[in-house]
Symmetry: C2
Subunit: 202 residues, 2 copies
Amino acid sequence: MATQGFTIWFTGLSGAGKTTLAKRVQKVLLKRGMNVELLDGDVVRTNLSKGLGFSKEDRDTNIRRIGFVASLLARNHAVCIAAAISPYQSIRDEVRGMHSHFVEVYTACSIDKLEERDTKGLYKKARAGEIKGFTGIDDPYEAPVNPEVFIDTETETIDDSTMKIVRHLEQRGLIPGDLSDDVSPEEEARIMDKLKALNFIG
Amino acid sequence: MATQGFTIWFTGLSGAGKTTLAKRVQKVLLKRGMNVELLDGDVVRTNLSKGLGFSKEDRDTNIRRIGFVASLLARNHAVCIAAAISPYQSIRDEVRGMHSHFVEVYTACSIDKLEERDTKGLYKKARAGEIKGFTGIDDPYEAPVNPEVFIDTETETIDDSTMKIVRHLEQRGLIPGDLSDDVSPEEEARIMDKLKALNFIG
């Protein structure tokens, strides 16, 4: 269990890798024995956002609601990972304001690249006008001005991005450090010997 | 912080005392150093149920949603107290099924008594047909068949009802026992002396 709770908030365009990355970070934190709840896609649609449509007001209500639930978890010492397009800076700031510890992760990807990938065929439909109000096509996305973690999903590997987030959490003291993720057993043994020699550990 | 989380779910007709009692129980648990979140009335309307109406389907969605959030809190070691009319046994059972530790508290009160009190004037409006689908008047309420705690709000005092719930939590081992609530300082000192004499405490 985390000694203090916090929320990791993934924002970015559809298909930019929010959920993929959120799940990877969740896995790392679970392996470290933390309580982690993931609020994204299906979980949100099934349990939180039924009854809401796609108007600006309904979208804002949806983001505020996810933020509310995240803040409840965080203030009760859990880790909440939320992944939502959350296109508006002002609402993301509102959600941030509900938290003592908040980590905004911006998964950046160019529209060109997203239209090229288009794994779900959503961008094609949006371009054809079959989906209206699609963020990035005919609805705005306000990129975070100063996110805690910036991820360039066009050039970084998922492993690199995951560790970038984990390192940020460690550096902020939100999670304890862990040598085992990126250090070979031999190197770890060498480090431990050195720490013992220096009387840092018994 | 509670070592294990759980949800206390208040069900009962409008005006039967769910919120009053929920707040009292919350106060006792907070005084005992637990993390307690109260999901009721305004909190739910503002943060969770916007966009939902009063159809059976929307009401069920609302209850399931409160249940979902309660279950997230409970499985992350917090205490969640929810107060909602929640008129249908099947949906309450669904919510129970989301939990490892669930305490259903039924605040029972006769319609006659509720119409007599009618602090918010809602029963009068419902009788006059100004409010449609009002639970207990022209919409059903299925009383819990086997609630963990049964409260007769017509005859019990709020203090008695509060302690009935707290005692249930203690007896189930959901919260540690506390002598200070119902024992005079003199009696507590006498008990402590006896425990010392028996070498139970130092």
